[in-house]
């Protein structure tokens, strides 16, 4: 039913693609991150919440259809439905059913419930196509409550040392999580690119805590001693240095490793991720009860080898999905 092609993951009987990276007629999109939702498709199909993200990201005049979680549509005889992936707002696992056979493409996902994205639901299938960004057992996330506690403790420490707490996190998903976790500590200023995506949350009916849009050009002094959220593209910019008394923290799963924290030489690194950790990946694979697993991006070789060793047939496949959590591969949005 599925073929891995140079344009993307292709559903043969349905004649459509899942998260393609080259222009095609019909693209079913798992979520709104740039490495999964490319420009140039004649038609897009995604979750309702992702529609506005695609419009603001790719263009207002794209042809896009939104559907709800668990709502099925029939395309050339293939039953297509979306199910919560818990990665970011509107993120979905794509379930395909054709002549009794079920394939699920996870897109990016996490098992932990961040309280903003609809929580991940395991879907039974015959074949599972999964990511493996953090597919090594060294990646084990702390509970969301503990992660939030650490962010708050860091702010508190900064406040007592008269420092400005600057968080660097991906503008779609991560920033909203941080905002949610820290807003009780004081007014939160966000970069306009984050504010723009915050609106997508509001339009979807998801209530975010109050925030202020930071005017970085004219009145940067206002930020002194406050809480600021910036996208990773600004990590190496002059701007960061212009913020008075700033201490900056990177929030990404990669920050689990001491070497990665020191490489970035941030003042703090928090291992907060919108991807599943090692146990999360295993849990998803087991929960799907799939007979065959395809591993798309991240630690593909390692994760596939391990699955085979524990008796789950798996192979790695080459895709062009990247890793939005890696501050190195960031581009400005």
């Amino acid at each position: 039913m599925i073929r891995f092609t140079s344009k993307g993951i292709y559903c043969v009987p349905g004649k459509f693609y899942l998260d393609p990276w080259k222009p095609v007629d019909l693209a079913v999109i798992s979520h709104g991150h740039a490495d999964h939702a490319h420009w140039g498709m004649k038609k897009y199909l995604c979750h309702h919440f992702t529609v506005n993200i695609l419009r603001s990201r790719i263009g207002p005049d794209i042809h896009v259809q939104g559907i709800a979680y668990n709502e099925a549509v029939l395309i050339n005889g293939v039953k297509v439905s979306l199910h919560p992936a818990g990665h970011i707002i509107g993120s979905a696992q794509i379930r395909l059913e054709y002549k009794g056979k079920v394939v699920v493409f996870t897109g990016d996902y996490k098992i932990q419930d961040d309280g903003l994205s609809t929580a991940f639901e395991p879907i039974k299938c015959h074949e599972l196509i999964t990511e493996s960004t953090f597919g090594l057992p060294i990646y084990r996330w702390e509970s969301i409550a503990m992660q939030n506690e650490r962010l708050q403790a860091w702010i508190k420490d900064n406040q007592s040392n008269k420092k400005t707490s600057v968080f660097i996190g991906y503008s779609l998903g991560k920033s909203q999580r941080i905002l949610n976790a820290v807003h009780e500590m004081g007014p939160v200023y966000v970069h306009y690119s984050i504010a723009k995506l915050n609106e997508a949350y509001s339009q979807a009916g998801i209530k975010l805590p109050p925030y202020r849009v930071a005017d970085l050009k004219s009145d940067i002094k206002v930020l002194d001693n406050q809480i600021v959220l910036l996208p990773p593209a600004l990590l190496d910019s002059q701007l960061l240095q212009k913020i008075p008394h700033s201490a900056h923290a990177i929030c990404s799963g990669w920050m689990q490793i001491r070497g990665a924290r020191r490489w970035r030489s941030a003042d703090a690194g928090f291992a907060i991720s919108d991807h599943a950790d090692w146990q999360g990946l295993l849990q998803a694979v087991r929960g799907s009860a799939a007979e065959k697993v395809y591993v798309t991006h991240g630690q593909t070789a390692t994760f596939a080898k391990y699955l085979n060793e524990i008796g789950i047939e798996a192979e790695e496949v080459k895709t062009q999905y990247g890793d939005e959590e890696d501050p190195q591969t960031q581009t400005t949005e």
């Binding site: 090594l136 057992p137 001491r258 020191r262 490489w263 703090a268």
Partner: protein, 526 residues
Amino acid sequence: MKEFATLINALDSSNKTNSKKEAILDFLDQASEKDKLWFLALMTGKRPKRSIAVKDLKEWTLEITGIPEWLFVECYAAVGDLAETLSLLLPPPSQLIEKSLSDWMAEIAAVQDAPVADKKAFVVRSWNALTTVERFIFNKLLGGSFRLGISAKGLINTIAHYSGNDASAVAHSIMGEWNPHEFEFEKLIHGAYSDTNLSKPYPFCLAYPIENEPEKLGPITEWQAEYKWDGIRGQFIKRSDDIHIWSRGEELVTPQFPEISEALQQWKGNFVLDGEILAVKDGRVLNFSELQKRINRKTIPKSLREEVPIAVYLYDIVELEGVDLRNQPLAYRRAQLEKLVAANADSALQLSPLVHASDWQSLYSIQAASREVNSEGLMLKKKDSAYHAGRKKGDWWKWKVNPMSIDAVLIYAQKGSGRRSAHYTDYTFAIKDGDKLVTIAKAYSGLTDKEILEVSRFVKQNSLEKFGPVRTVKPDLVFEIAFEGIGYSKRHKSGVALRFPRILRWRKDKTAADIDTLEDIKKLIQ
């Protein structure tokens, strides 16, 4: 261990010297006397003997976690630090226990000679009572090695600030051998043990690379010039017939060079000398690769003593008959040194000859020919200079000959360790031998962070094979490798080894067809 963990975390997460200093001062304010002493011992490399083998720690972790060994290897490659890999893999603790740093050190020392089963029980119990960060520190303590993101100089300045003493006095106070089980912190940093410690060396006086043309230094008559030897810088101490040889890395190397201590037995007087340990045969200084055969050996067989005879070329005298001469001018110290050497004629320790030139121009030609005597260039020292503790700009300069360089192609890459663990930063380079490629050098430094990312990306996309953490890379990227010396060696397939190889620049203008050949490179060997 809470205070210590906080300190480690703070040192780790900042690259600003000032915040590191603050973190240490905070620690010194809060920690107990004993913890402070252990902190200092660990930071200055006075580590206790490793009490538990790495392979045991790894085995127990595999047992607890149930992960296969190959997966462990993958994890280690991604983390780049064994103690940290273990701490991340182990399951969360079931019950936290708080103990001080010195308590942990005492417990670790207590299992030193215990049977393996007892060691295992102790380690497993401890792992289960510590957070991930504390566990990482605990593993480091077991291993006995701890490198933290602060320089020796930064540490000494901080302690000087804390104790209200002069930095050079502190440096001297905490140098040399002292046992954390027997000493007291406050006494130590205030120099209470200095007089009684016969082995105690002085901080080495170091030079900066010369920045301008030497003639801009003023009249040549104010300067002393000598060869810059490429050996092991050392201090040679004889006090009350006790003999100690220290290397610049603050390691006692006395047993490695028996001919030096034997010669010093015969010398008269009490003194501390500064000089260079070199392999010298028939009055000629040998290539560093010869000296290397004598380093890090437990025993020195007689045949090796004959094959690679050792001598010391003396530069300076820092203490004579119990008197610290460091604040005397160099000209005075040199005269004292010459007097001492004259009174103890000996081929094992001799003066490093001065280089005489009446003007800068003639010094240039001597400098350019330095390699002919197997030296790296010249040292220029102001005749009225003191023997500073550490580096001070202006008085001592090193004037090295330009490095040699070759063009080589990248063929293996490996992820680095520590802060470099996220990227491919450790490279092996090859040159041409006929139509084959043969390895010649490994290099870790010389690229900017941005270039490292670019090379890393190339490695990911152009890996041909995988041997554990090592990737074989399509031979495509050419780099200019600079080095200080070259000699025959079995370490690399080419049969030659480079001294201090480092990447000078990435030659994006060249392809693998343009790299140097082994035949040409062998011509560089003296």
